[in-house]
């Protein structure tokens, strides 16, 4: 194998290891178990959304709405619990309702893309504006506060010493990875993204599979939104979810998912999300100005695509 092949195949893992080493040398506190756990925790919200984004992108689409979508779903969960009362069953019911609505909205985007023949970029850009406007409108620009202590406790809960969002994230990665890489449905997702026409001629229901990827995207956003809003015990109508689309797409792309579809893995996205998490954490620990973090992220996305191209331009 050439150095170039090794770089492009395991590059993301190398990048992560190198980053962790650098961070460890620059600031020994970085390698403490509590800090590593924190990185996982902070990464899980974007990570879960990025997993859904990976399905959509491999299937040949994209979803720019995830940020405001997450805010809307978080607000929905909080308002539903507030309305139903502070009981375990109402919390569970609210979460299920939120996930169901997320799946429905995802299906809506998917149908507009497939049956409506509107480019995914346009559909989800429109959805982004619509969701944000709805969130802002119902809170009158303010904050959705949870009045349920049961709901708020989920996001801060720990099981076996590990934060719940991190556990959910890890389980979600494993399940998603099995769905994408071990099932017939997953095979079809790759096929429609890599060559839609060939998939059509191979008796694959392209529209249905592609819509399903948006449903998975919607479910992912809802799960992330529940974890986030319960941890914060609130949703800010103006700021919650801002920039999520950039981070989620970045995680997928850094992990090797192709922007033109047909290529990518959940493990790659998982590592991509961690790379972003480590960088964020490093920048904070090294006292780099918050405003410059976007610059670093942008450079990393561009380099990731550059490395991908090395492989495809063979």
């Amino acid at each position: 194998m050439h150095l170039r092949d090794i770089l492009s195949k395991y590059g993301i893992l190398f990048a992560l290891i190198v980053l962790v080493l650098i961070a460890g040398i620059l600031s020994p506190a970085f390698l403490k178990v509590e800090n590593i756990t924190n990185i996982f925790w902070q990464t899980s919200y974007i990570g879960i959304i990025a997993v859904g984004m990976t399905f959509i992108m491999i299937g040949g689409g994209i979803d720019l709405s995830v940020g405001s979508f997450a805010a809307l779903m978080g607000a929905l969960a909080i308002q539903t619990v507030n309305a139903l009362g502070d009981t375990t069953s109402s919390v569970i019911l609210s979460i299920l309702i939120t996930i169901a609505v997320g799946a429905l909205l995802g299906a809506g985007s998917g149908l507009l893309v497939t049956k409506g023949r509107i480019p995914p970029f346009v559909v989800t850009l429109g959805a982004m504006a619509i969701y944000r406007s709805l969130v802002l409108n119902f809170a009158n620009g303010g904050v959705y506060m949870s009045r349920s202590s049961k709901y708020s406790s989920i996001g801060m809960m720990r099981v076996l010493g590990l934060p719940v969002p991190m556990i959910v994230f890890l389980i979600y990665v494993v399940v998603a990875s099995i769905i994408l890489e071990r099932t017939k449905f997953g095979r079809y997702v790759y096929a429609i993204g890599a060559n839609e026409t060939a998939a059509l001629y191979s008796a694959i229901n392209v529209d249905r599979i592609r819509t399903a990827t948006y449903v998975i995207g919607g479910i992912s956003v809802s799960i992330s939104a529940v974890l986030l809003s319960s941890m914060m015990s609130s949703v800010s109508s103006s700021s919650t979810g801002n920039g999520f689309e950039l981070d989620a797409i970045a995680a997928a792309v850094i992990g090797g998912t192709s922007l033109s579809g047909g290529r990518g893995t959940i493990l790659g996205t998982f590592l991509g999300a961690l790379v972003l998490g480590v960088i964020n954490n490093m920048l904070v620990m090294l006292n780099v100005a918050v405003y410059l973090q976007g610059l670093v992220k942008g450079l990393i996305i561009i380099s990731a695509v550059f490395i991908q191209n090395l492989r495809t331009n063979d």
Binding site: R182, T183, K184, F185, G186, R187, Y190, A191, A194, N195, T197, A198, A199, L200, Y201, S202, A203, I204, N205, G262, R263
Partner: protein
């Protein structure tokens, strides 16, 4: 004719990855002659042309120009006067004729481009070729034939010694072709060596002074061609007698397995088409490009909408609205564009074999082990040449890719196969194997075939019966001795209509 060849490729070999595409080829080209270069797809024609024009470096062997050994690159070749006119013309459409002729080589006067010199010299070249082109006309307004002329003028403006033309007549009308031939003869008489690559043997016989035949990367003949018929040249190209290429035609059972009655499509591309397919039959569909053959098959498998008409499978009326429903009724279609529609090129090969028939193998989870076994079965029986089942499909040759598409279709267990140009871009050996696969399935009555092909010898050699289409309608049918070139072309042209075309010109 001088003593020394103007261009001599000495024992040139070329490899792409593992594949040896040129094997010790030795060809000489003398000034003032037209060379017709022929060969099957994959014989190495375009590789040789790209080496001669400096776009590729051979792995061994030398190039001699006017007796001196030289290493070619595109700039050096241009400097020496070796010009390649590619099949896809390289013109800047919105620019004027003279601007295109001198593109990248503009005469300059006091820093500025000398427009007058360009126009004058363009007019001279146009005059020398005796064609009707206004040098100030934007190229996009010219016909394909005239665009071709502009490409040639580009070459002439640079003192060309060797003009290489890759399939120059592919998109020309007969008139334009004749005009081109006149020009080629003029160039030859002025001392230019013209290398003319074409798969149209009739044209090669018309224009070439000398024939070069390539087969599987080897030069199998160079020399005089005045004694050869088209069929003899074709046999040299493929290396076996024509009669050996096509297997014996299968016997047909009386039972009708598939029938279409009065089919029309909503877009008007298909008008009132009816035909029936018997068990074990190989039914050919012939017609000119745009006759509606592909559209007919797409309508049958539910990719296009039908506005009226009925489809019968085994005598039962059947409604087909999607490729999946077609497949459930035992009907599968091999699309014309293999890379675009036949295969997922970045999949491992075994995944393409099972892509249509995954339902048979798995309910929810895929079973790669079983899939690889299925692929191995076809690898053996269809002779699909791969290093491993996990090889990426993109890296396979055209012939192996096509056999892979066939494996995908056969794996569905279908009874009725509609194959659209099944051997286009496929090397001769794979072609022979594909014919054998078709013929075996048909002879054993495991399947019946509809074969769309624009390759007349293929239609004639392979099919029990041929339906000819024109403008979306069935205009004729041929069986037995009626399946011959003259008859099929006559039907496809629609004799009365062709006269109209002439008067319209």
């Amino acid at each position: 004719m001088t003593e020394m060849p103007v261009l001599h490729a000495r024992n040139v070999s070329m490899k792409f990855g593992e594949a040896l595409v040129l094997d010790n080829v030795d060809v000489e080209f003398y000034a003032g002659r037209v060379y017709g270069v022929v060969g099957e797809n994959g014989a190495g024609k375009s590789t040789l042309m790209r080496i001669l024009s400096g776009f590729l470096q051979p792995i061994s062997g030398q190039i001699h120009f006017e007796g001196k050994q030289t290493v070619l690159n595109p700039q050096r070749a241009k400097h020496l006067g070796i010009v390649l006119v590619p099949q896809e013309l390289n013109l800047v459409e919105p620019l004027r004729v003279y601007e295109n002729i001198f593109l990248g080589d503009e005469p300059v006067k006091h820093i500025l481009i000398d427009r007058k010199a360009m126009i004058d010299r363009s007019s001279e070249i146009i005059k020398s070729l005796d064609v009707q082109i206004d040098p100030a006309e934007p190229v996009e307004k010219l016909s394909t034939g005239k665009k071709q002329m502009v490409e040639i003028m580009k070459a002439l403006s640079r003192n060309v010694k060797i003009l290489i033309m890759d399939e120059p007549t592919a998109s020309l009308s007969e008139d334009e072709t004749n005009k081109l031939f006149e020009t080629v003869r003029k160039l030859r008489d002025s001392g230019i060596a013209v290398i003319f690559v074409s798969h149209r043997l009739k044209e090669i016989i018309q224009i070439a002074d000398e024939l070069v035949v390539l087969r599987d990367g080897k030069k199998v003949y160079q020399g005089d061609l005045s004694n050869f018929s088209e069929a003899q040249i074709a046999e040299m190209m493929v290396g076996r007698k024509m009669s050996e290429i096509y297997p014996e035609k299968p016997t047909i059972e009386e039972k009708t397995v598939f029938e279409v009655q009065n089919l029309s499509s909503t877009d008007g591309k298909i008008k009132d088409v009816s035909f029936a397919l018997k068990n074990g039959e190989i039914l050919g569909f012939y017609g000119l490009v745009g006759a509606g053959r592909t559209e007919l098959m797409q309508t049958i498998i539910g990719i296009r909408k039908l506005s009226s008409g009925e489809i019968f499978v085994d005598g039962k009326p059947t409604v087909i609205k999607s490729v999946k429903e077609a497949m459930k009724n035992g009907i599968v279609y091999l699309p014309e564009e293999r890379k675009l529609a036949g295969l997922v090129l970045n999949f491992e090969v075994f995944k393409n074999t099972t892509l249509m028939a995954l339902d048979k193998i798995s309910k929810i989870f895929t079973k790669p082990k079983v899939e690889v076994e299925r692929f191995e079965y076809y690898r053996k029986s269809f002779d699909i040449r791969v290093r491993s089942p996990y090889q990426i499909t993109r890296t396979l040759s055209g012939g192996n890719q096509q056999k892979l598409v066939l494996s995908k279709l056969v794996e569905t267990g279908a009874k009725i196969f509609m194959l659209d140009e099944p051997t286009r871009g496929v090397d001769i050996n794979s072609r022979y194997q594909i014919y054998k696969i078709i013929s075996e399935l048909a002879s054993k009555k495991l399947a019946s075939f509809i074969v769309i092909s624009s390759d007349l010898p293929e239609i004639i050699g392979l099919c029990n019966r041929v339906i000819v289409m024109r403008d979306g309608e069935v205009v004729g049918e041929a069986t037995g001795d009626g399946i011959n070139e003259a008859n099929l072309i006559y039907l496809a042209l629609g004799f009365s209509v062709s006269q109209d075309d002439e008067t319209r010109e």
